[in-house]
């Protein structure tokens, strides 16, 4: 008995010592940033484990690629060379964790910028980013609610998803017909899309069947929901969630004999979907333009570097490409503002910095302005229609206002 408790005590004290060492180590590492050439931490909080891990990893790759390239080119702020450093924390998609991560990155690591790729998390971070601590949110979400919030330190990167609905509806109606079935995912974002498409479709004079939305993450077999949607004999189907399950739904619909068109939500990427199903199953679909179809000055090099980093098999998505651009914009804004620690000045400098960004960072529809509310706008937004020959044809998209 005695010996047991002694060995347990010893183990406890060993754990305590290890803990103390770990704490000291982080305390030393946290400060940083003095001596020759400043180091500036770019913070990132995103889902790196759990159901959203693949998405979070894609964003992270873009951030890493941008930071590597920028450091290689050299960033100079107010005459001093600056080294950028990425610090990532896992929030498992939980807004509350994201907010505490962001707080930690701002307080401990003095990060002037925190990247977050999820609307819920961004809304939570917006509660704390301009007050006691100040930092710019590099927001990767196409939900306009985050710019409607009127937060002075938010930079929204992707286009507003509401811009797609009208053009998607027209294209799908033209290639399919008037009757639409709804088969999107049941996430909050999926439901916003479903509503946006529903409105645009009825406005264009189409008919809409029942809402067959299912939770893509929990359904074990898509055959049931697909059979049900097809029983209404639709001409077009709205689908979308993460690329891979979306691809399975489309494959199942084609197997069950559906020949109409698909409207694919922007979360799903047609080229990424083609890695899990035959391209044949995806034809006659309107969706967002794959990164590899862009013809921006930096796209080709970006694709090469991506393949080196992530492997030939992995498909680069806009999560990676747009965040790559985003960090380049922020670095240029720091140079223009002449500061790395004043987020307000950095935010102000963005519009001046945009035309100054090197061509190599223009890879996926580069913005030429930032709205008052903080939304980066790409003047030539395009979506795509994957035609019967398996070719991506471009569909120009007119952007809607972010106001409610």
């Amino acid at each position: 008995m005695n010996s047991v408790s002694r060995s347990r005590r010893r183990r406890l004290s060993a754990a305590a010592i290890m803990g103390a060492i770990a704490l000291t180590a982080t305390a030393c590492g946290g400060g940083g940033g003095s001596g020759e050439g400043d180091t500036v931490v770019i913070g990132y909080t995103g889902p790196l484990s759990g159901g959203g891990a693949a998405y979070g990893e894609n964003v992270k790759i873009g951030l890493e690629m941008a930071i590597d390239d920028l450091n290689a080119d050299g960033v100079e702020v107010d005459g001093n060379p600056v080294t950028l450093e990425l610090k990532s924390l896992d929030d498992k998609y939980a807004p509350s964790t994201a907010a505490s991560n962001a707080q930690r990155l701002a307080d401990q690591d003095k990060a002037p910028v925190v990247v977050s790729p999820n609307a819920g998390a961004i809304k939570a971070i917006q509660q704390i980013n301009s007050g006691r601590s100040n930092f710019l949110i590099s927001a990767y979400t196409s939900d306009p609610a985050i710019v409607q919030a009127g937060n002075p330190l938010t930079m929204m990167i992707p286009p507003n998803f509401e811009s797609y609905a009208e053009e998607f509806s027209e294209t799908a109606m033209e290639h399919g017909g008037k009757k639409l079935a709804l088969l999107g995912t049941q996430s909050e974002y999926g439901q916003q899309w479903t509503k946006s498409i529903t409105d645009a479709w009825s406005e264009a004079g189409g008919k809409i069947g029942g809402d067959n939305s299912v939770d893509y993450a929990t359904v074990s077999d898509f055959a049931g929901p697909v059979s049900k949607a097809l029983s209404e004999k639709p001409d077009a189907i709205f689908v979308g969630g993460p690329s891979q399950p979306t691809a399975l739904i489309m494959e199942e619909a084609r197997k069950q004999g559906f020949e109409g068109s698909f409207l694919v939500m922007d979360q799903a990427k047609l080229d990424e979907m083609a890695t899990v199903t035959k391209l044949d199953n995806l034809k006659n679909s309107v969706g967002v333009l794959p990164v590899s179809e862009y013809e921006d000055p930096g796209t080709e090099d970006f694709l090469k570097k991506f393949a080196e980093k992530a492997g030939e098999k992995k498909v680069p998505t806009s999560e990676t490409a747009l965040n790559y651009q985003g960090i380049a914009i922020i670095a240029k804004a720091m140079e223009t503002a002449g500061t790395t620690d004043d987020p307000e000045k950095i935010r102000e400098a963005i519009s001046e910095a945009l035309p100054e960004v090197d061509d190599k960072y223009k890879v996926n529809g580069f913005p030429d302005e930032i709205t008052e509310q903080g939304h980066l706008l790409n003047p030539n937004l395009e979506a795509t229609f994957l035609n019967e020959d398996g070719k991506y044809t471009k569909v120009p998209i007119e952007q809607v206002s972010d106001d409610k």
Binding site: L48, S49, G50, G51, A53, A54, G56, E57, Q186, G210, D211, N212, S213, V214, D215, A217, T218, V219, S220, D221, F222, A223, G224, P225, S227, K228, S231, P242, S243, Q244, P245, L248, K255, Q256, G257, T275, V276, T277, K314
Partner: protein, 288 residues
């Protein structure tokens, strides 16, 4: 009518998968008296191991499931030895915490080895069958047939073989079984191994019609718990009836009422059962 037939087969296929997964869980509950919250993670691991043997090593589909099932049997035995056995005399909460820990460990392991991306497992079984006007994919027929065969073999094993009978004996009376010379430790290992093996067969069958991801077991985990509570904790017929009933209820509700309700129906049924017949439909399980 065609829609009904179509959905009936979809429901049966889903039921087969639910059954195979639920039976393992209910066996473990019967013998070890613990809810193994890591069951969904074992199912996920089984799918990945099958994928590994099929795609990376290149063995045929059925053999890949077989090898993976054996690997997972060993993992199940290991789980019992390393996690549950040392905790056998602790309060029940400890088992649950340990099981949740094991679940996170397996998920992190899968993400470290195979990455967070979804993966697709191709099956050599392709084609469709036309049954009364409905298009049923061959894979779903295979799922239904395999589930029935495996369940029959399992019943035979438990009722006829010595090792199987020891499982039932321990379920009925742990002390009494030890007194007649059955080693409860061995039976515990055998049961957890068997449950992981069955989960792997379920995973290997369903993987080609779904996707692999480190969190693929989470949704199934909730459903199988609903099934075994519905059927009666520890009851084999309960798990079988519960599995098929729930799957068919799910597909039919989604078809004729609403998709959103289809996902929730498992839990509505669960609440109803707990209110009316708290011990489940088949109350064979010894309650102590």
């Amino acid at each position: 009518m065609t829609l009904f037939i179509q959905q009936l087969f979809n429901g049966l296929a889903l039921g087969g998968v639910y059954c195979l997964a639920a039976i393992g869980l209910t066996l473990v509950f019967g013998v070890l008296r613990i809810p193994n919250l890591a069951h969904g993670a074992l199912y996920m691991l089984g799918a990945y191991i099958t994928y590994f043997f099929l795609t990376t090593v290149g063995v045929p589909y059925i053999a890949a499931i077989g090898i993976a099932a054996i690997v997972l049997f060993v993992v199940g035995v290991g789980l019992e030895r390393l996690v549950f056995h040392p905790l056998r005399n602790s309060p029940h909460t400890h088992h649950m915490i340990a099981a949740v820990g094991a679940m996170f460990f397996f998920q992190a392991l899968a993400q470290a080895i195979w990455g967070a991306d979804f993966r697709r497992m191709d099956t050599p079984i392709t084609g469709e069958l036309r049954i009364l006007g409905a298009e049923i994919s061959a894979q779903r027929i295979v799922i239904i047939v395999t589930a029935v065969i495996v369940l029959a073999l399992l019943a035979l094993f438990i009722k006829r073989s010595i090792h199987g009978q020891t499982i039932e004996a321990i379920e009925q009376d742990r002390v009494g079984a030890s007194l007649v010379g059955i080693n409860p430790s061995m039976v515990s290992m055998l049961t957890l191994g068997l449950s992981a093996l069955l989960a792997t067969i379920a995973a290997g069958l369903v993987a080609p019609i779904n996707l692999l991801s480190p969190t693929m077991g989470d949704a199934l985990n909730l459903k199988v718990f609903a099934i075994i509570i519905l059927g009666g904790l520890g009851s084999l017929p309960g798990a079988i009836v519960g599995g098929f009933a729930l799957a068919i209820a799910e597909t039919m509700t989604a078809t004729y009422i609403s998709s959103a309700l289809g996902e929730a129906v498992a839990f509505i049924v669960l609440v109803a059962v707990l209110a009316i017949k708290p011990n489940g439909l088949f109350t064979k399980a010894v309650q102590r």
